[in-house]
């Protein structure tokens, strides 16, 4: 069953790679309290594990100790696990029924990769899919390097406190508060959704969902959660990592310009390229309202659906760029934010770290 939802999103990045605690982004979610309904909140932080930056950080939920043991054994068959630990949390009345929450810093064994003739990232991605699809009671909710997602059932500001995000420092943060209209109230269903270092927070409900899902599943992705965000995450992974598209090109696939706009494009390569991408990936066009923030290693991309059916504003202050569903959230993070603007539909806003900044 697919779960339609409305939501609040927010994000911040320091282009100079200056590390910020998770405190500010937690505050940003407060004024948008009404956009969530307590059934899910989450954050992604980039640059938070400098000490383990060469290892994939798997954040996992387990239903019981046995599952965890079984999963650890499975991981050790093909990964070197350099560290495994409980993710530190605060006990608080607002957050209940928590599963067992662990993180592992891992790297695939060279011998395994050689045997399978697989690229390292592809192997990691497949492993994540395999655990999530096949291992009952175990769920990988974060799998990138030097980044991590933190999510739970609850209001986002509470989720931040629960995960002690004020104790992490990263160069960029994204956040999400969820308003699902129907939910099993499951922790895995909260945002951000991630695969490798891609994380997506999303506000909207996409009408193209099953067309996108049935297409992307041809390439080994398994949409287990029936949420829009999951499929968007996989689409972006597919386009960027596997097809080698740039962020802008990927944006022009999922929020493709209208044919009439393409025909009026003056730059001939640009026109040919847009026409080509739309013809080649028709099933990855996402319709319906959405605003998303894609987090990746070294940057953020914000994108609206091509009709801009969901609100999203962007602002700047010095080296920082802020993105949120509402301007109020930006003002909380930086009362003096400048140059606030609402990007038009289908126009990606890409912010990357300055060369060598982090």
């Amino acid at each position: 069953m697919r779960i339609p939802s409305g939501c609040a999103i927010a994000a911040v990045i320091s282009r100079t790679g200056r590390r910020m605690t998770g405190g500010a982004i937690m505050e940003a979610m407060k004024p948008m309290h009404d956009r969530s309904n307590g059934l899910g909140g989450g954050f992604a932080g980039y640059g938070i594990y400098p000490d383990y930056k060469d290892f994939y950080a798997f954040h996992m939920f387990f239903d019981c100790r046995d599952t965890r043991k079984k999963c650890e054994a499975f991981l050790k068959e093909s990964f070197e696990v350099v560290k495994g630990e409980l993710i530190p949390t605060r006990k608080m009345p607002e957050i209940t029924d928590e599963p067992i929450i662990w993180r592992y810093f891992v790297t695939p064994l060279r011998s395994v990769l050689a045997d399978l003739q697989l690229d390292e990232k592809e192997f990691v991605a497949r492993t994540v899919m395999k655990i999530n699809v096949e291992m009952n009671g175990a769920y990988v909710f974060s799998s990138g390097k030097n980044m991590g997602t933190f999510k739970a059932v609850g209001f986002p500001e509470d989720v931040g406190v629960f995960y002690r995000l004020d104790e992490y420092e990263g160069y960029s943060w994204t956040a999400h508060g969820r308003y699902p209209t129907n939910t099993p109230g499951w922790w895995g269903g909260a945002h951000p959704f991630t695969l490798l270092d891609y994380s997506v927070v999303h506000n909207g409900e996409i009408s193209s969902y099953d067309a996108n899902r049935r297409y992307i599943e041809m390439f080994g992705y398994k949409c287990t959660l029936q949420t829009d965000t999951e499929v968007i995450t996989y689409i972006l992974d597919y386009l960027i990592r596997r097809q080698g598209l740039t962020l802008t090109e990927a944006a022009s696939v999922i929020a493709a310009p209208f044919w009439s706009t393409i025909e009026n494009t003056t730059n001939s390569y640009e026109k040919e390229k847009l026409r080509y991408l739309r013809t080649v990936f028709p099933s990855l066009l996402i319709t319906g309202p959405f605003s998303i923030v894609l987090g990746f290693d070294g940057g953020l991309m914000a994108l609206n659906d091509r009709l801009k059916l969901r609100s999203m504003v962007v602002g700047e202050k010095d080296d920082r760029v802020f993105i949120a569903s509402e301007e109020a959230a930006i003002r909380v993070m930086e009362p003096d934010a400048e140059k606030i603007w609402a990007p038009s539909g289908g126009e990606p806003v890409i912010v990357t770290l300055k060369e060598g900044a982090f």
Partner: protein, 501 residues
């Protein structure tokens, strides 16, 4: 008479209070049902000849005519129904195979009618097609599976040949010979105006219609009628016809009486010779043979034309489609068991093949399971009756639909299902010049354009309701469909949930 007598199926009811004896009915009936009695000074009818084509009814200026089903009945019998008994009589009279035209009229399930479409409420806004752009364009053809870049980092934008359609509908194959010059002219002109394609069928392409080549699919069928190099290069795509939904497993038969003048020249066969297409292509006895034909045709057209392989929906259609998807073909066309025909043995038309809805669902799933859905586009036909059917087909996974019967209806066909007689009173399924001229392509093409324009509006309206503003986001979007009154197995094959789920 006597044992051979079969009571006429229809009655001509003439309201003599209204009849002004203008004799339009007499002049317009190629079956010679009506005539004027000089002695009595009134019009009279021989209803035994009536096929209920409604031509006289439509042209009668005082609405003095109607045709009704005869109520002269045989004793009721749920097992031996009237039609069954009459068919027995006919066969006992003639010793022949019964012939029929147009699609299967039997009360078999129409899955389109058991599928309902979703719409947005609250959580997701419907889109108003009058205010927002709504895209219905589709491109049929193989899609590359990998993005390639040149040394300069730019994407190499060469695509395999594609068929561009302004909406996901094409006019399906009807040969020149089975239908008239003016019917072809109407289809060709309408397709051109609409930015879609029509299909020559297996009868070749009349020289007058080469100018509509950009909007033409040229067909290569087992009889190879009218196939030559210029023909192959004349169209926007080539279709290899392996089978037809109305008569899977058998070829075509156009009687010599229709092979006259331009028809004979276009088909490149002598006048008055029967045009018999064999059941198989005699150079295709297996899937690898098909691959050879696909590539022969591509060679002959410098790889510039997409190749469509059209098959009838039969039991193992998913496996067949999987084979075709790996044969080099660019598009697979699946023709369901309700598809029309200019003439087919009645038993075959009514009993062979499977519903296109199930075939489509199975094929789309199979190709996705095998990861080769992008190798080919899927076109489905066989009684696509409305914009809703198109929407449902696309949501089930079709790239586009083939439409023929609906197009003929727009041209005036009243589904009397006697195309095989060659006496079509509407100027469609005939080669008699006095009948052919009854279809003025100015009117015919305008009506086809009207019909498709109406469908496009409806498609946009329904898409907008679903919050979808481009047809590609609908393709294979089965969550937008729900079944009603379908059993678990049917739902499973269709890949949709039941309404309420």
């Amino acid at each position: 008479m006597g044992v051979e007598f079969i009571y006429p199926e229809f009655e001509v009811v003439r309201n003599y209070d209204r009849c002004i004896a203008c004799r339009v009915c007499e002049r317009q009936c190629a079956n010679e049902v009506h005539f004027y009695s000089e002695e009595r000074g009134v019009m009279i009818s021989d209803e035994a000849k009536c096929v209920d084509c409604q031509r006289c009814v439509s042209l009668c200026p005082t609405r003095a005519l109607k045709i009704v089903k005869s109520d002269s009945t045989l004793r009721e019998n749920a097992n031996w129904q009237n039609d069954t008994i009459k068919e027995i009589y006919k066969q006992a009279n003639s010793g022949g195979v019964l012939l029929s035209s147009m699609g299967n009229p039997k009360p078999l399930p129409v899955y389109w009618d058991k599928i309902l479409i979703n719409a947005s409420q609250v959580t997701n806004p419907p889109i108003d097609p009058l205010r927002e752009p709504m895209e219905t364009q589709v491109f049929l053809g193989k899609k590359p599976s990998r993005i390639e870049r040149g040394k300069d980092g730019k994407i190499k934008c060469e695509l395999p040949p594609q068929i561009a359609l302004s909406l996901p509908v094409m006019f399906s194959a009807m040969s020149y010979g089975s239908i008239s010059y003016n019917a072809h002219a109407s289809l060709a002109r309408a397709a051109t105006e609409l930015g879609i394609l029509y299909n020559t069928g297996e009868g070749g392409l009349h020289e007058d219609f080469y100018k509509y080549g950009k909007n033409t699919v040229v067909q290569v069928a087992s009889g190879r009628f009218g196939v030559h190099e210029d023909y192959l290069n004349a169209g926007a795509a080539i279709e290899i016809k392996m089978g037809q939904g109305a008569k899977p497993g058998i070829g075509g038969h156009l009687p010599g009486a229709k092979i006259v003048g331009d028809v004979s020249r276009t088909r490149m066969i002598p006048e008055r010779s029967d045009a018999i297409s064999p059941a198989p292509h005699h150079d295709i006895y297996s899937i690898e043979d098909l691959r050879q034909l696909v590539f022969s045709l591509k060679e002959a057209t410098q790889y510039k034309k997409p190749v469509i392989v059209k098959v009838a929906a039969v039991h193992n259609i998913a496996a067949i489609a999987s084979g075709i998807a790996r044969s080099g073909a660019d598009v697979i066309a699946i023709d369901g068991f309700r598809g029309g025909t200019g003439a087919a043995p009645t038993r075959i038309r009514d009993n062979v093949g499977i519903p296109v809805e199930l075939a489509l669902a199975a094929v789309d799933k199979r190709l996705r399971d095998e990861g080769i859905r992008g190798n080919v586009s899927l076109v489905v036909g066989g009684s696509i009756r409305s914009a809703a059917d198109v929407i449902k087909a696309v949501a089930l996974g079709a790239d586009a639909c083939y439409v023929a019967t609906a197009a003929l209806l727009a041209l005036g066909c009243h589904l009397c299902r006697t195309c095989q007689s060659g006496k079509c009173n509407w100027g469609i399924a005939t080669q008699r010049p006095d009948l052919v001229k009854r279809l003025n392509p100015d009117i015919g093409s305008a009506r086809l354009v009207n019909l498709m324009t109406a469908w496009r509006h409806e498609i946009m309206e329904i898409m907008g309701g679903m919050g979808i503003n481009s047809i590609e986001a609908l393709r294979g979007n089965r969550l937008m469909l729900r079944g009603v009154g379908l059993n678990e197995k049917e739902l499973e094959i269709l890949g949709i949930s039941h309404a309420g789920e």
